[in-house]
Amino acid sequence: MASISLKRITSTWIITVMVLFVIAILFGITMRFNQGKLIQISPTSFYSIMTVHGLTMIGIWSVAGLAAIHYLLSRYLSIPTSISVFAFIFTVLGVVMLWSSAFIGEFHAGWTFLYPLPFKVAWKSWATPLFLSGLAVLGVAWLVWSVGILYQILKKYTITQTLGWQHFSTNPSIETPPLILISTVSLIGIIVCLLSAVVLLVLFFAEYFSNGAYSNDPLLMKNITYFFGHTIANETLYLGLASLYELMPEISKKPKFKTTWYVALAWNCTLVFILTAFFHHLYMDFVQPLGFQMIGQLASYFASLPAAAVTAFSVAVLVYKNQIRWSLSNILFFLGVMGWIIGGIGALIDATISNNIILHNTLWVPAHFHTYNAMGNVLFSLAFFVWVANDFSDLPVDSGIPKFIISLLVLGGFGFVLMFYLGGAMSIPRRFALYPPEFNNLSWLATLGGWFAVVYLISILFIFFTILKKCLKVFSAS
């Protein structure tokens, strides 16, 4: 059972995430309107905004996923609330440091801060160390939180049980709840990738403080950067799926999902494949060893198969020809699976080396990752928020699908990403503050994409207001 203190910190996370989400969307819309020449900001402001937008989005949906599993796992084990509070304080500190480095210090090396760009100082000289330190603060906070949760899981289950290995035998002695299985797989991934971020930061600081005596290898740094960036973005999505497995059947008033041998197998495969799929970010670095390039395509293809196919199929079995009591939260889960899979198709196309040569770093890239984030992972987290807000208060639970909100969400979200896909197919580069003359006739794509994002934002605001009142209730309850 969730204690009142757990409810309060969870509520604090939700409100913080939603406020930052709205601001980050506004940054996104600003970028799109600038690309569409509807407004004009300087390229350096554009890139500061882009850096903050990317980091904030990745950050808030990671913590939203962690906050969700922390809350849900308390049904099975007890996790000290204090680590969530600790993580919150340090997250706020880290965010303030990053935003200051970008908005006051004018730092603008992109959220992937690819080496050696942060050292080519085109901003206040203190902004680079502040940015790197801000990342370090976030890294430590999330590492402590993830390790803390994993530690509690391992106090109750053995490591092989958490990974569901007993389900490979005919008569498993105990059942690992899917929430435990998926949380463990994601937490291991998150911990490994946060450790890689620590290594990356150490290498950055080593060069920074060596005064030219030591310099890093750009290819190695790029590999570590994308190992970190790719992995964190994907594991975050799996955290969202952990809530789906736990909650979607329950909200739909159906029997719980069970871990069986194929569910266990799928998530074990995912654990392995996802750690090597990042190689697809380096396809266009021809000096990268050929073996890694091949592993990149293979792992990308097979990382998507087990988790996605098993989840999609389980959701289909849950819903197909079964009477479902639809509400805002389970329709968000349902739509999220759809968005995730469509984004996954976009990703698979791009992860094919022979396509990557004409899609790499075009708008196809933000197209597919915005699909599985804005129309996938975000919806999983929002579904959890809506469900937990009902858990917080005894205000009446809304039932039925709010058609207006869902229509805006679908129209705005898919319209917004479609403009990116069209841009990508027409070879428009990503991360261009302004488009070169050959794309002048296509600037309407950016403007229209921005307007679709406004529609998406409106539906997000509606959802925010639906849950805000209930989230605030926990602070007045005794």
């Binding site: 603008h108 050696p116 293979l298 080396i353 040569i357 004409i358 899609l359």
Partner: protein
């Protein structure tokens, strides 16, 4: 049809099919007497086998088309050196290094294999070749300390533009150059 258009169409068709499928599943949840999915285990088995086979077929078709194998056995008719730098591209028929900075206009023959040896003198950049219809033809990365060799055979003469496809700082979107194919 152009590759770019084919890719887009393929994606749109699959996406619309997925949306349709989800709509069908959603609509089926509004029935009075529920029956559930018949034979889910068997259906799941075939679902997996079909998906895995599609992926394997796609892998075996696409891997050999990877750029690393293209024109690997030919010897290039011309070698062009490219060095990227915030925010310009230097291009030359001789090697470009920090001690030997030089740049010249490039003209290469059509229907011959050309090799671009691409590097960077500062941060990571991209080296992307666009034709005069603003279509991305091919690309590689420009990484400091490394030389990426990109081979290509231009079938159509004309002016080709070079754009930077790796974020390299405030001037990134203005960084460009061009060359001619005769």
């Amino acid at each position: 049809m152009k590759e770019h258009t084919l890719i887009l169409l393929l994606f749109l068709v699959i996406s619309i099919a997925i949306m349709g499928l989800f709509l069908v599943i959603f609509q089926s949840s509004k029935i009075e007497n529920e029956t559930g999915m018949q034979n889910p285990k068997k259906k799941r088995f075939f679902f997996f086998i079909i998906l895995a086979s599609i992926l394997l077929v796609l892998l075996s078709i696409t891997i050999p088309k990877s750029p690393y194998f293209q024109y690997a056995d030919n010897s290039p008719a011309k070698v062009v050196y490219i060095a990227a730098q915030q925010y310009v591209f230097l291009s030359s028929f001789q090697a470009i290094t920090l001690d030997n900075i030089n740049t010249e206009a490039i003209e290469v023959p059509a229907n011959e294999v050309i090799e671009f040896r691409v590097t960077s003198l500062d941060v990571n950049h991209g080296f992307a070749i666009y034709n005069d219809k603003a279509e991305l033809v091919t690309q590689t990365q420009a990484m400091p300390g490394y030389i990426n060799k990109l081979r290509w055979k231009f079938t159509e003469p004309g002016k080709y533009n070079i754009l930077c496809l790796e974020f390299c700082g405030g001037g990134h979107s203005f960084m460009r150059s061009s060359f001619t194919v005769k």
